[in-house]
Amino acid sequence: MPLLEVRELTVRFGGVVALDRVSFDVNSGEVVALIGPNGAGKTTLFNVIARVYRPGAGAVMLDGEPVLKLAPHQVVRRGLARTFQNLALFRSMTCLENVLVGDHINIRSSFLGASAPVPNALKAEAEARNRAVEVLDFVGLAPHAHHPVAALPFGVQKRVELARALVSKPRLVLLDEPAGGISHEEVGDMARLVQRIHSDLGVTVLLVEHNMGFVMGISDRVVVLDFGRKIAEGTPAEVRKNPAVIEAYLGAA
């Protein structure tokens, strides 16, 4: 059984059909890329899976269980975490605090326990801190742990997003343009990082990316969207040769 099943998803915004009966699977242990020209519906698809948008029709299953029945805050408890295309960090917080929020579901401290604060809550906090520092270290940001996130360079903020999504130990991460907007030199680092997320942490990855070198280098499979429709799916080599894909990108260019 696939880890993630997307079935016949349709989303309309007024007259715009952002997703048109899109279906595909992501198997456990894969790195799958979702590509397509601007406005193809990639972010919309992520937002449906993460329960930000309600689709007009279709279904999403995570490990065989329906996702669309969940409240938005329950999705991460099923092992699905995400990053945001345009950075949605908690801007008043430090890097460490951002990552701690990412681990919210695993910190065993209640409202009263944390306020009192009882020893168990403090212990849970201390353990969470260790985990958060570990993950910051994994993405290479340990020195920035106590820096306010808002003042950091864009490329660093991107990695904070990544750390925040990884700290809860999800089974599947959705990465929306991990290499978007970062400098040329950083793209290689980011690609290696995503590979390590897959190989070292054993996390299944579904990513959206415009940088074709990045996509072709690390993906097992590629799904191509254009105007809300799936126009191709296959290995990077297959997709690259697909006339419909070439057409879509040439048409968009």
Binding site: H73, A88, R91, L100, G102, H104, A114, S115, A151
Partner: protein, 364 residues
């Protein structure tokens, strides 16, 4: 340990100095002044709760005067009608008010900021008339009178030892009671903010979609913040009733809700000592604006008469506008940024522009 003390940021020292001054105060001022400072502390408690709501969870309330009324009436009714020990009524008042705040928070959260402001404002408006209704219980327009609470043995003995034989008055005792409760509630809020629930609230304030994506029940935390701030207002109201020994519908006018919010903003939202400054503003400003302004000969007669006639509302409005323009982070923000600028100056240009990040002003 010593190194930690030396590295402690200035606000820790500020808290320490404030604590020492507050503890010593009644031994050097009159009993009447103690009662004035007691009210300052009571407003401080209410503003601490408001600070959690507005400063950290990012919501707004123009109805916290109503929650104070609820707390005060809970205490007054329990004492006058059911002869409950006044100390016991304080947590009960907090819990009753907190529970009602929590319940009101559930529908309130579906509202956008503007509508939440209006809904809480409506609460402040209707509460005085609602109180008048069940006359058997609340005493109607007459209100409920209470007897002053005498200090317990241990407190009176300690006080007379320290002051060299002075008898502790009821005012002084209630001051210490409020101080102890304020310190306790400060500590609770401080812990809450620095740990998981506080982070969740701040995450909700910074971005609801991202907060939900990491498992934070946005509506739940908003309601929780509402309930907690109502709890604080309820405790403050209870202490207010004990301090003034009289509660009536007019004790908690709509203006009080505004004053509390202005006090919270003025002291500095999401700051540590801000509520104490806010409490001082809320207590002293109406007094200062009605007395002092009319005494100032340099202020033209026409202007001062407006201030005196319209009461503190005009002064609050004027101050709020000034704050928004000159100190959007409140007085504490103003001091912090002033202190930062001063330190930069003192350290000289050498360290400038090294790219060193300033520590997080809220959590550090």
């Amino acid at each position: 340990m010593l190194a930690r003390v030396r590295r402690a940021p200035p606000r820790y020292w500020l808290v320490l100095v404030a604590a020492v001054l507050l503890i010593g105060l009644p031994t050097v001022v009159t009993s009447f002044q103690s009662s004035q400072w007691n009210l300052v502390l009571i407003f401080t408690i209410a503003i601490m709760g408001l600070n959690v709501l507005v400063g950290y969870s990012g919501q707004i309330s123009l109805g916290h005067g109503a929650f104070m009324a609820l707390g005060a009436y809970t205490t007054a009714i329990l004492i006058a009608r059911y002869h409950v020990n006044y100390l016991v009524t304080i947590p009960i008042a907090g819990l009753v008010t907190g529970a009602i705040g929590f319940l009101l928070g559930i529908p309130a959260l579906r509202l956008s900021a503007l509508y939440l402001a209006l809904a809480t404002f409506a609460l402040a408006v209707v509460t005085p008339s609602l109180i008048k209704r069940p006359e058997q219980l609340t005493g109607g327009v007459q209100g409920i009178g209470l007897v002053p609470q005498e200090p317990p043995q241990f407190a009176a003995a300690a006080f007379s030892t320290v002051t060299g034989g002075t008898q502790m008055t009821s005012e002084q005792w209630l001051y210490y009671l409020s101080l102890a409760i304020a310190v306790l509630l400060f500590w609770v809020a401080w812990n809450m903010i620095r740990h998981r629930p506080g982070r969740a609230m701040r995450a909700v304030r910074d971005g609801e979609v991202a907060a939900a994506a990491f498992g934070i029940n946005v509506a739940g935390y908003k309601t929780l913040a509402f309930g907690m701030s109502a709890f604080y207002a309820g405790v403050a109201g209870s202490l207010y009733g004990l301090a003034t020994t009289y509660v009536s519908p007019d004790t908690f006018p709509v203006a009080l809700s505004f004053q509390l919010l202005v006090g919270a903003v003025l002291g500095g939202l999401a700051s540590t000592v801000g509520p104490l400054l806010g409490g001082m503003f809320v207590y002293w400003l109406p007094i200062v604006s009605s007395q002092t302004i009319s005494d100032q000969s340099w202020i033209p007669e026409q202007i001062s008469s407006v201030f005196v006639k319209a009461g503190p509302a005009v002064t609050y409005g004027a101050l709020l506008i000034l704050i928004m323009i000159f100190a959007p982070n409140g007085v504490v923000g103003l001091i912090t940024s002033g202190y930062g600028a001063l330190r930069k100056r003192l350290r000289g240009a050498g360290e400038r522009g090294t790219g060193q990040m300033p520590p997080d002003p809220q959590t550090g």
